[in-house]
């Protein structure tokens, strides 16, 4: 059940897309999209582009698109557990300022 060989054209196409997206993310970084002290919109844009590039590499270069459902589950689980760590850790840091005790992190 090894996956079919991917045509050369597709690989070069994916590579071109990756190069374009890299250029895009660098250019966008020079415009202030707002979002307050943390320039949140810049961050969201950069992360979205990075996720898109990562998906291209994972799906096509790493052949996950042609792999078994089990591989999808493994990749999904890895990303999901990373998100758990980020979300619950930030839940502490973001909510520190809400209760009127000293020691707020980033009010």
């Amino acid at each position: 059940m090894t996956h079919p060989t991917v045509p050369l054209r597709r690989y070069v196409g994916i590579f071109a897309a990756l190069i374009l997206l890299t250029g895009l993310t660098v250019v966008i970084a020079f415009f202030d999209l707002g979002g307050g002290r943390l320039h949140a919109l810049n961050a969201i844009a950069a992360i979205t582009i990075a996720v898109t590039k990562a998906l291209l590499v994972v799906l096509y270069f790493m052949h996950v698109r042609y792999s078994s459902r089990l591989t999808w589950i493994f990749v999904g689980a890895g990303v999901f557990w990373f998100v758990i760590m980020i979300v619950l850790t930030l839940a502490d840091y973001l909510s520190r300022g809400w209760f009127p005790t000293p020691g707020s992190w980033s009010s």
Partner: protein, 539 residues
């Protein structure tokens, strides 16, 4: 019962006696035994440390050793027991030995990586022992910054590297189990026909894979901060010591499920075999192992309720901590229900199973005290916590390990241990354990903080009681070591299936041949099918 073999049958033990064949083996059974020897050595080391701690605590003022030495003792007791005994014990010994046989495979998916796992464990152990011998470390097994990164003046980096390296041994074992259980099951062995021992080890392997790397990078950052003076958790330049606690406990709470889940797997096997009955609610027991593995990653904040973590995060973690307690309760109820209308024999493994059910229930329920915000403020970092996790680790994990070791001893060595001695040791352990750790619940509620070299006089009587219990507990551990070693040479031959159990491992000779089965078995019915055992032969 197979008749007495005329000329000795070839099996994984007598096929090659050379030391080289042991040190370069890729046979999962031999690697299991290599691990058994290594972790037993560390159990003795950790046990000696525990004995010294209890001796010191006989009197309120520190008159056995200096404060610094006491701190090094409790640190080494923690590191040795957790990283070098509890985490590897059942997965690396019983898991390595049994997972391939139970699923009808010739070996694990990556035998060479399995041997690498043992060498990585030994390398990490070497670092830690060198650190201990050349001055020890006194940061506690938790390595909290800024003490560990800036203020401690003991071998923190050396020990951190030792723990860092040993973490990869756990990762490699987890990786091997996950791939093996997915890809190398015998024909007919669907997921819901798997023994619950395998389900528990699958859940444990997931935690090993998803949690261990985070403590690896955290310990590495502490070593970098200490070694190169770069500030990562250093409050002087804006770093946050509480961030270390977040990253550390992200792994270290799931690690306690690495320690208890395999014991739960052993428990399902023991209760089913010695009640001669299917496990009640098989799917729920299997599902609760997976639920514990997933929920176990969401609750680490209950270690940090008083650490200036925000109150709202505390409330979230408290709620999630209550949810993770439910699957454990479901398991205990299912084991008890399995015994209903069974045919229960009180041989040694079953006594350890009873010990597990009783002590794990107390350990689990006292965990609810610590998950309750208002109560945790009072009992956090006191002996109440020490008693709670010893009820889970010793009452749960070690009882499960000893129960499993006795249950599969005839399969591993082909010899039977003396059951009377076995039962005696189990009872002594149960009594000694309770006498050691139950008084600590009271000490904790009275407010005696943990990791104290000296304590106020009013706590002395309970501490004396606890030390007395520790002596009995220590004796209790010596007994199995003696009669199990004795049984290797003098024990009577055990035959292929001394307990009349149903697992695939009981359908191959004891001790098994190097490739486990003459030809790959085909599985046609559910696990624990004791009721249909007598009619036709299964395989």
């Amino acid at each position: 019962m197979s008749d007495a073999p005329h000329e000795p049958r070839q099996h994984y033990l007598n096929c090659d006696y050379s030391v080289r064949s042991w040190l370069l083996t890729t046979d999962h059974k031999r690697i299991g035994i290599l691990y058994l020897v290594s972790i037993s050595a560390f159990f003795v080391l950790g046990g000696v440390m525990a004995g010294l701690l209890r001796l010191e605590l006989l009197t309120p003022h520190g008159d056995l050793v200096q404060a610094e030495t006491y701190n090094k003792f409790f640190t080494m007791h923690g590191i040795t027991m957790i990283f070098f005994f509890l985490i590897p014990s059942i997965p690396a010994v019983l898991g390595n030995f049994l997972v391939p046989i139970m699923i009808g495979a010739r070996d694990l998916a990556f035998p060479k990586i399995n041997l690498l796992s043992w060498y990585v464990y030994t390398l990490g152990a070497a670092f830690t022992v060198v650190a201990m011998v050349t001055g020890g470390v006194d940061t506690g097994w938790t390595f909290y910054t800024p003490y560990s990164s800036t203020y401690a003046n003991t071998n923190v980096i050396l020990t951190a590297l030792g723990v860092f390296i040993t973490g990869f041994s756990s990762i490699l074992t987890g990786l091997n189990f996950v791939v093996t259980i997915h890809k190398m099951r015998a024909p007919g062995l669907t997921w819901f026909r798997l023994p619950l021992f395998i389900w528990a080890h699958y859940a444990t392997a997931l935690i090993m894979l998803l949690g261990t790397p985070v403590v690896a990078i955290t310990i590495l950052l502490v070593a970098l901060e200490r070694g190169l003076g770069i500030g990562i958790f250093d409050p002087a330049i804006g770093g946050d010591p509480v961030l270390f606690q977040h990253l550390f406990w992200f792994y270290s709470h799931p690690a306690v499920y690495i320690m208890i889940l395999p014991s739960m797997g052993v428990m399902s096997e023991l209760v089913a075999c010695f009640s001669r009955k299917r496990v009640f609610g098989y799917a729920f027991v299997a599902g609760s192992s997976m639920a514990i593995a997933v929920l176990g990653f969401l609750v680490w904040g209950h270690h940090m309720f008083v650490s200036s973590q925000s109150m709202y995060a505390g409330i979230i973690f408290s709620l999630l901590s209550f949810l993770v307690a439910i699957p454990s309760a479901v398991k205990v109820f299912n084991w008890t229900a399995t015994m209903y209308k069974g045919s229960i024999s009180l041989q040694t493994p079953m006594l350890y199973a009873f010990g597990f059910v009783g002590l794990f229930t107390i350990g689990g329920l006292t965990g609810l005290f610590l998950a309750t915000l208002a109560v945790d403020v009072h009992v956090h970092d006191t002996y109440f916590v020490v008693a709670h996790f010893h009820y889970i680790m010793v009452g749960g994990a070690i009882m499960g390990f000893l129960g499993g070791l006795h249950f599969w001893w005839p399969k591993i060595t082909g010899r039977m241990y003396p059951d009377a001695w076995g039962r005696l040791a189990a009872v002594i352990l149960f009594v000694g354990f309770n006498m050691t750790f139950f008084p600590q619940f009271v000490l904790g509620f009275l407010g005696m903080p943990r990791r104290y070299h000296v304590y106020p006089p009013e706590f002395q009587m309970l501490n004396v009681l606890s030390t007395a219990g520790a002596v009995i507990l220590g004796l209790g551990y010596v007994l199995p070591a003696l009669y199990l070693a004795w049984s290797i040479f003098k024990g009577k031959p055990a035959g292929d299936n001394p307990w009349g159990a149903t697992g695939l491992e009981w359908h191959t000779p004891s001790p098994p041949p190097t490739f486990n089965f003459e030809q790959t078995p085909v599985v046609r019915e559910e696990a624990y099918a004791y009721d249909s055992q007598l009619e036709g032969h299964r395989v």
